[in-house]
């Protein structure tokens, strides 16, 4: 071994050691500041963690673009839906008067809200784009109650880290971190373009998360749970999406 290659070998070793130590240190810092997504394992974990961490550092308080009224799509596109289950059909027959959204988990007062209970809370309307991971999009006006108003009403506990939310359709559930849950544009939506939210678009209640892809905006929500860990839910990957092969974080 010549002198030059030994020097290169030592330098390379030091760089590699510093790299490994750097990644380990970055990992523990990231964990402390909540920059690790629930689906951080596996071969795609590093890329997913980089995306989530970078977006949380750069976009935590950013607002999704809002559009003028003239930008509202003439043809909003309701994605395909499986036929509704009997429970849904029963509630639909009653004009959704008996529809309930239950908030539980790490809250001081677990509460069930009817649609009219939600309408009595502060209302927000926003014209934002629905962006599907497939590539298509449309702009609509969404009207509802900001999720943070509901969370404040039920008194979420300080150790809360995620809000999981469930559709009346089985195996359709998602979760978001508190940065999105407390974001002013995250809306429990009950109306769209000045009419009640149509069933194909998620009526009577849909959680709109405009800073993430459409699949995070679950339709027909009936339950929300505040939690400090997603490990206990499903396979522990954060939502139904990673269980079907899709990323938990839909900000990209």
């Amino acid at each position: 071994m010549s002198k030059i290659s030994r020097r290169k070998f030592i330098t390379g070793g030091l760089v590699a050691t510093a790299g490994v130590a750097g990644v380990a240190a970055a990992g523990s810092v990231a964990k402390r500041y909540g920059l690790i997504p629930p689906d951080c394992g596996g071969i795609y974990g590093p890329g997913e963690t980089l995306t989530y961490a970078a977006q949380r550092l750069l976009t935590r308080h950013a607002n999704a673009r809002e559009f003028s009224r003239s930008m509202i799509s003439k043809v909003p596109f309701a994605n395909e839906l499986a036929p509704p289950n009997d429970n849904f059909k029963r509630l639909q027959a009653g004009g959704f008067a008996d529809w309930r959204l239950t908030l539980d988990g790490m809250v001081s007062q677990p509460t069930s809200f009817s649609v009219s209970d939600l309408k009595a809370l502060p209302r927000r309307s926003q014209i934002t784009e629905v962006v599907c991971e497939e590539g298509w999009s449309y702009v609509a006006e969404w009207i509802g109650t900001p999720l943070f108003e509901v969370l404040n009403a039920v008194g979420f506990l300080p150790q809360a880290r995620y809000v999981a939310y469930f559709s009346i359709e089985p195996d359709w559930w998602e979760s978001i971190d508190m940065a999105d849950a407390l974001h002013p544009q995250t809306l429990i939506t009950y109306a769209m373009n000045d009419a009640d939210l149509p069933v194909p678009f998620g009526g009577p209640l849909r959680l709109r998360v405009p800073r993430q892809l459409g699949y995070k905006s679950v339709k027909f929500i009936t339950r929300m749970t505040v939690t400090d860990s997603m490990k206990k839910f499903g396979k522990g990957l954060g939502s139904a999406s990673p269980e079907a092969g899709y990323a938990w974080y839909g900000g990209i």
Binding site: T59, N79, E134, Y138, A244, G245, Y246, G251
Partner: protein, 258 residues
Amino acid sequence: MSVSFARAMLPGIVAATASLHPSRAPRHAALVRVTHWITAACFLALLVTGLEIVISHPRFYWGETGNSGTPVLFKIPIPSSRNTVPSGYNYVLPDQNGWSRYLHFEAAWAVVLTGLLYGLWGLWTGHFRGNLFPARGDRTPGAFLRVIANHLRFKRPDASEALSYNALQRVSYLVVVFVLFPLVIVTGLALSPGFNAAFPFVVNSLGGRQSARTLHFFVSISLTLFLLIHVAMIFLAGFWTRMRAMITGNVTLREERR
């Protein structure tokens, strides 16, 4: 002029390297070789997964919005992996978007970080100025026409071209490094709802989300065309010599003269 310069230097380079290893000359720096192959692997991953994602909606639009209910700018006449897309085919391809999206973004991270390393190294060492910016005598239209004429005649490259890029190569590589790669990254980022919330001027200046998607597609096509020509040229110029140079870093001059 650079060609004649390199030709004049050739015996000197051979003499300088002769003591180390006869008839071998250094060609590509280690950092260029490592970043080249990481980029190649990432680009292939991005291309395959990008195609899979396109299949879920092979329709393109201009402006902010577009979906199966709106007119298209154009559509690719292929079947889709979603039955909501009016593709004209009566069957639906399997959905591959989950892992495709995971891998697309992981490969994007790898290629962006690799590209940053390469870019900083290239500025620091003068790689771009010395090896990629056309040499002074090659910056005339005449010099470019000569290189193009040689290409059209399928003239086997001069021995000196094993040691230095010709003007056309230099301009192509500069366009790839400083135009197409930055564009494909920016148009890709403009498809991220999180990124668009934080930096709305990027997607707005591209003409809206669907315009950004269409541009991302065309820049990817341009990069793919570059890849095809690049690989074809390597076969024409001498596959093993060029591959060996990009893997070991050395070019074997005797072989080059053959």
